[in-house]
Symmetry: C2
Subunit: 437 residues, 2 copies
């Protein structure tokens, strides 16, 4: 974990893909004891690309291990009633003890009495239904992430297609839509879920009440269309936003090419950003002449937006005449709001913001993968030392520990569960099993 | 507000654009009393497009009003020391009273004793520095959203350009990048900030400690590259992700055109989604033949991804032979994970998920704009009735009320502040002032 603010909060996560695991990661980075329960051998996202090389394609997933660092892992046969009963018992178990436990990501520092009784899932299965579990622990907080609120399936891509963005991305149109690559709605959903769980915990701490939280990915997207003014624009102005390529909507900003074939993104949104850009490019006179020619007041961001093509043509030669280094130096000297376009490889090679020089990054040695750069919480908490994140565990790495600690099972009882194939330890992780065979 | 879970938490928001205002909106929808303080006449984002029509371009911004619903507004001359002192006093004022107050979005229900002492800002100004304010209220929680962690400027577009996504979006390349249109990093930052503030409040409630929270937009983006496995992939596998258009990375999924010129997005990520797609399109035999021809096991998602072009060619004729209605019916009958591509106008016209039939939406009557559809919280809280959101206020609509309630100023003192031009009421909102003139 990065910070211990949620230390003592135990969260049982039964999930897959991005939204719920990223919500769990967010809680884990802030000190919650997030226990991910998983099918023995791995759930449907355990082998998701990219994977480490492996002759039998059993290399660990860099995607899964990225989203599940800082958590503990319990491997269970979820098809067996006894396996399901174990998970129900874990979710509804009494609060965590106040003393530090002996292993796992929550060992450092004393624990507050936040307790357990939190379920995070995107798997709408009857045996994890809120009512069923709340009958056993009335102060249960459950957070269920759905595709659509009616329970029908939807993923980031199929929600995004309906949200209108692919029709206006790049040179896209409704006939030739351009999907964005970032799973932006999953990410928004994850952080909203982490917020909702902590807000519910705040209330539980005040009055003891539990909470049944449901978040539909489609609601995350469509509510955002309201928050950003897009629904009101469509309803009240009767307009559809056009596709404007790399131009920034509502102001002036665009990408420009440099003399040596690089590209930079430049934003002139606020008046200050706009003035800086004009000054850096020594374009004051040219902008005034353009204003006169177009009869526009380019101090107004909306008029800059209307004149975006003329403005882009005005600035283009300045960028095209200079190599990247000269462009960067001039823009920085005038505090222009700009950024280079980079591939991830270039980013990691040259940008100190993605390096161990940035304290949000650290080196993790993930089992089955080896050492690599990884991120803790993006938040910087003044006066708090950042603590290391534990790497994503092998499946079942904490099975015995969790069953003993949380459910108080004896070694004999745990052994019997192993013998009956109800639970498993890390030896059944596919990458380990493959290495043995 | 939608829910009263944060009722009694007073947040002073001094902000602009998306990330910080959306964080404030998130808190406000959950019952916090979010007081947005603003320059008299409006800050740099007050007129951001889209705007209502107005002969003098003073129509209200649908963007600003979308992001600032559910809040109270205080209009202050922030250039005057006395104005700044008022804001400092508001941030560091003693906790809110336990009894309900007479107006504003926090009137319903009894208030918990969460108190004030929370500052949310993206404006890094010395007079709002954490240390300065914490000297007056040691349990202060401040959350400052930055562009880069070193204080240099960056916006969503200039962070995204460096994150690698434009180089692989659509048919993009590093020489011809394609920006996505959604301000995805701002949104992620906003929800992360709301999470961090509530987590800090949870700790404050336990032990009385404040918190200085800083979140850089660039850290939000670059940490996500770790969480999604992209940094590890680049570092360990030495590969750069290629641009694959509308294909889903790591599995099979793509857009397809129907006989009547519509397009749909189809996802076959999990084994279940894949089998449903194959069945819906009656493609079992064809897929088997393709498996044999390619020598691939298409039950493996990574192999489906490798065979994506061949698979797309296999499915295309099925979609192209059917009108949209028939495609939709067949996909739904087999519970395929799919979604239509829509413009926002189409979405609002035909999709019940964006209508008053969906309880996350309501009708707001925003001053200066009129009635329109708007969203409350995307989260559904079981057993809780959704309460209406108050529309975005005119600038300064709550100036007098807030100064009286929070700072205990007398009517005479407030009048004197008006007379000296230190504060203003809604009559100085540009849209009102324009209507008068």
């Amino acid at each position: 974990m990065t910070y211990a603010l949620l230390d003592g909060l135990r969260v049982i996560e039964s999930s897959a893909f991005i939204a719920a695991p990223l919500a769990g990661l967010t809680l884990a980075q802030w000190g919650a004891d997030v226990i991910r329960v998983e099918m023995i051998g791995g759930g449907i996202d355990y082998a998701r690309m990219p994977r480490m090389p492996h002759p039998e394609q059993r290399g660990r997933s860099l995607y899964w291990t990225g989203l599940n660092k800082g958590k503990r892992s319990l491997a269970v046969d979820l098809r067996q009633p006894e396996g399901r009963e174990l998970i129900q018992a874990l979710v509804t178990a009494a609060d965590a003890p106040a003393a530090p436990v002996s292993a796992g990501p929550t060992t450092t520092g004393p624990r507050a009495a936040l307790g357990g009784g939190v379920l995070l899932t995107n798997i709408g299965t009857p045996w994890l239904a809120h009512g069923l579990l709340a009958a056993r622990r009335p102060d249960l907080i459950s957070c269920t992430i759905q595709g659509n609120a009616d329970g029908s399936t939807a993923v980031d891509y199929t929600v995004n297609s309906a949200a209108g963005y692919p029709a206006i991305t790049g040179g896209g149109s409704i006939q030739r839509p351009v999907n964005h690559v970032l799973p932006a709605w999953d990410i928004a959903c994850a952080y909203q879920a982490a917020f909702a769980i902590v807000a519910a915990q705040l209330r539980r701490q005040q009055c003891g009440a539990g909470a049944e939280l449901k978040i539909a990915l489609s609601d995350i997207a469509f509510t955002m269309l309201s928050h950003l003014g897009v629904l009101a624009e469509t309803q009240l102005l009767g307009s559809e936003r056009p596709s404007i390529g790399n131009h920034i909507y509502g102001a002036f900003g665009r990408d420009f090419g440099t003399a040596d074939g690089k590209r930079v993104m430049v934003a002139g949104i606020s008046a200050g950003q706009w003035r800086a850009l004009v000054k850096a490019c020594d374009a004051g006179d040219a902008v005034k002449a353009l204003e006169a020619r177009l009869g526009r007041n380019l101090d107004d961001e909306a008029e800059r937006h209307a004149a975006r093509d003329e403005l882009a043509a005005l600035f283009e030669p300045w960028f095209a005449a200079r190599p990247y280094a000269a462009v960067a130096a001039a823009l920085d000297a005038h505090q222009v709001c700009w950024g280079p376009y980079r591939t991830v490889g270039e980013l990691m090679a040259v940008d100190p913001r993605v390096s161990l020089a940035n304290p949000v990054f650290e080196t993790l040695d993930t089992p089955g993968i080896g050492p690599h750069i990884a991120a803790g919480s993006a938040v910087r908490l003044g006066g708090a030392e950042r603590e290391p994140t534990s790497p994503a565990p092998l499946l079942g790495a904490h099975t015995d520990e969790v069953l003993a600690q949380v459910l108080g099972l004896s070694g004999a009882a745990i052994g019997a569960l192993h013998d009956r194939g109800v639970v498993a330890g890390p030896e059944r992780d596919p990458s380990v099993a493959a290495a043995r065979s």
